[in-house]
């Protein structure tokens, strides 16, 4: 009889607990065996700390994740919390798909970097999580062979060009510069540091007109093309990195994943990393990142806010960065951890983030990106002059933005 009573009581209790539980659907991209267990551990910890909230993770691939997100949002079945790349936020936000969390994150605004990438129309639509930037990698061996001191790292454009050409002259199989082929979503990221460092901008200050073909932009593209023509190893990012690791390229621009590769594959290569050169002194790099946003249609905004704050907390960022070997946490506190300050290569990234710029947060960004990339392609691989190519892009960007 007593047993039965206990059984009934437990049944009722579990029932009521079950009723109070909120379930959050979270869609995220970190699925490789290095980072996925940490994602799970962070979620487990969150559930332990918040017994009334359960989190379901759905894994997305980098190649097709966007489609799945768009299809779900389009049919009104999007998840409560979604990881979005910074270049998608404006488009989702402009269509009212994301929750405005401005008021809820004010307290945190000074402790994290990257808010600008998630701010559209003066409102914040996502919490910065893992940022992404790129630095200059240099092969010390080749620099030495070309007659440079090991303490040397090109600091500005003339030095970079000279060093790249000198390395190119070492022999048929040596290249000074890793130049991306027409690779969607990658090529423009390589050019933008040159564009920004030279003082070029996408729009006029009032944001109304595209000035992508300003003199400064044209000069930047001309210089980029010069590097490409005189010393470039042309390939996709992967083969450029392969060739760099095989000791065939002097300088490439790459991200933190290259550090991970060198470690995992136990590559023996003497390399240096540092800021990307600008016209006269070190320039600006590209800043992008992964953000956690809340679906406007979600019924669990409070639980979702709690969850994204938990995932992006300094401790959890540090934990995740260590597991995944990401070098760009958005948390300023995490950036000051000895894990980053003690390693010169990771430090190069932390430093570069400070002087990195991000593309405009514009609902037409994908079109802008596409046109910019076409212009770079036309200049590098087609027959258009840089000025011509950029002017073309400017016209088409202006048209696309005027439509709506």
């Amino acid at each position: 009889m007593q047993k039965l009573l206990i059984l009934i009581v437990t049944a009722v209790l579990t029932q009521s607990v079950a009723r109070a539980t909120t379930t959050l659907e979270w869609w995220q991209f970190w699925t490789d065996p290095d980072s996925r267990p940490t994602i799970q551990a962070i979620v487990d910890d969150f559930e332990k700390a918040n017994p009334d909230i359960k989190v379901n993770i759905t894994d997305l691939t980098w190649a097709n994740g966007q489609e799945k997100i768009v299809i779900a949002f389009a049919s009104g079945t999007g998840p409560d919390v979604v990881e979005l790349g910074s270049d998608w936020i404006a488009q989702f936000a402009a269509n009212g798909q994301l929750a405005d969390i401005s008021q809820r994150v004010i307290a945190d605004s000074g402790n994290f970097q990257g808010w600008g990438l998630a701010t559209y129309d003066g409102k914040v639509f996502g919490r910065p999580w893992i940022l992404g930037t790129r630095v200059l990698f240099a092969n010390e061996d080749l620099m030495r062979k070309a007659g440079y001191d090991t303490s040397f790292l090109p600091y500005n454009w003339p030095q970079l060009e000279q060093a790249a050409i000198n390395i190119r002259h070492l022999g048929k199989d040596y290249y000074g510069w890793g130049s991306n082929t027409a690779e969607k979503h990658r090529l423009y990221k390589k050019f933008l540091p040159f564009f920004w460092s030279n003082g070029a901008q996408f729009f006029t200050d009032d944001n109304r007109y595209s000035i992508i073909s300003s003199m400064k932009a044209i000069d930047a593209l001309k210089f980029y093309k010069k590097l490409h023509d005189s010393a470039g190893f042309v390939g996709d990012q992967r083969s450029i990195e392969d060739a760099f690791l095989d000791g065939k390229i002097g300088f490439i621009i790459s991200g933190d994943w290259l550090l991970k590769r060198i470690e995992v594959e136990k590559r023996k290569i003497d390399f240096k990393s540092g800021p990307i050169p600008g016209p006269k002194y070190p320039g600006k790099s590209f800043l992008g990142g992964e953000f956690l946003s809340i679906n406007q249609a979600s019924k669990n905004h409070d639980a979702a806010l709690k969850f994204i704050a938990f995932v992006t907390s300094p401790e959890n960022q540090l934990r995740f960065c260590k597991a995944n070997r990401s070098a760009n946490p958005s948390s300023l506190l995490a950036q000051q951890d000895p894990y980053f300050t003690g390693n010169p290569h990771l430090q190069a990234f932390i430093k570069q983030i400070k002087s990195a710029e991000h593309p405009p947060v514009d609902p037409h960004w994908v079109v802008i990106e596409d046109e910019l990339e076409k212009a770079i392609e036309d200049a590098l691989f087609g027959s258009r002059l840089p000025a011509q190519a950029l002017r073309n892009a400017q016209t088409r960007i202006t048209q696309a933005r005027a439509k709506q």
Binding site: Q66, V70, I71, A74, V234, G235
Partner: protein, 290 residues
């Protein structure tokens, strides 16, 4: 006769159900969307009539995607068809090791398209095996690899497609060859017909339905070529085909689903006309030559 009609319908029921339950709605839905300005993330859309279709044929990206698609279709179908028939004839007769050759030729057809595309991305790269081969026979491969050159990228993908498809169509030809009754050849033999004559007046006509299948299916598939470009070139270097265009405008870059649906139905009409022409060309002849 009425009983027959009942049977005919009963036998077609599984397809009727599948089509009705799963595919009729998607077809009608996307056809309808082609007449709207539906943008995937927007909360509302408007009827725009034929605007999308008008805009399409003024869109240089769409027009060039059509051109690339036609180059692909017209450049691969004849090769695939003739080669797979030749291979089927080659491995049809009994000889030692036949199973091995058949399995070998068929192997590419059972490997996933994504994987094959990745393999060839590597083979076609700068310094890859194909470049090496080109050097050996005295040609100069493009400096940045075959896929990163507007002059070669599309042809490289076409060659891969032929390579990949011939094994499967060979198999269908083989099955088709088995449907030809031996008596026909025996009768021809008695009449003193040469092997070539037998091929032209028995094998080819008897293979007509199977050939029609191969040509129609291969055309439809080729008009919708996409995955190869998605994995290998992302539509760059003049390889953007129409389905790539649809994917790009509809599902990734701009989410212009209405516009992309219109493009899909424009392509649909083109494929339809093309297939119709093939059906007419291959119209079934009731009488056999022997």
């Amino acid at each position: 006769m009425r009983a027959h009609r009942g049977i005919a319908l009963a036998l077609g029921l599984p397809w009727l159900l599948t089509f009705g339950l799963f595919w009729a709605f998607p077809m009608v839905y996307s056809l309808f969307m082609g007449f709207t300005d539906h943008q995937l993330l927007a909360k509302s859309f408007q009827w725009v009539g034929l605007d999308n279709y008008r805009a399409l044929f003024r869109d240089p990206d769409f027009v060039s995607s059509l051109k690339n698609t036609f180059v692909f279709v017209l450049g691969t179908i004849p090769f695939t068809t003739v080669l797979s028939l030749a291979m089927a004839l080659l491995v049809n007769r009994q000889f030692r090791g036949r199973g091995l050759f058949r399995a070998g030729y068929f192997l590419p057809s059972i490997t996933s398209l994504v994987v094959i595309s990745l393999i060839f991305t590597n083979l076609y790269s700068r310094g890859g095996y194909v470049a090496l081969l080109a050097h050996v026979i005295g040609l100069t491969p493009p400096e940045n690899g075959f896929l990163y050159d507007s002059g070669t990228a599309l042809y490289a993908i076409m060659a891969m497609d032929v390579w990949m498809a011939v094994g499967y169509y060979m198999l269908i030809f083989l099955a088709g060859l088995k449907a030809i009754p031996e008596e026909l050849y025996e009768a021809a033999e008695i009449n003193g017909a040469s092997p070539l004559r037998q091929f032209v007046s028995i094998t080819l006509p008897m293979l007509r339905p199977v050939t029609l299948f191969i040509v129609v299916i291969n055309s439809i598939k080729s008009f919708q070529i996409f995955t190869e470009m998605f994995v290998m070139t992302k539509g760059k270097f003049d390889t953007a085909t129409t389905v790539y265009f649809i994917y790009d405008t509809g599902l990734t870059t701009q989410f212009k689903f209405g516009y992309a649906s219109a493009a899909a139905y424009a392509l649909f009409a083109i494929i339809g006309l093309f297939s119709l022409a093939q059906f007419i060309l291959f119209r079934r002849r009731q009488e056999y030559s022997w």
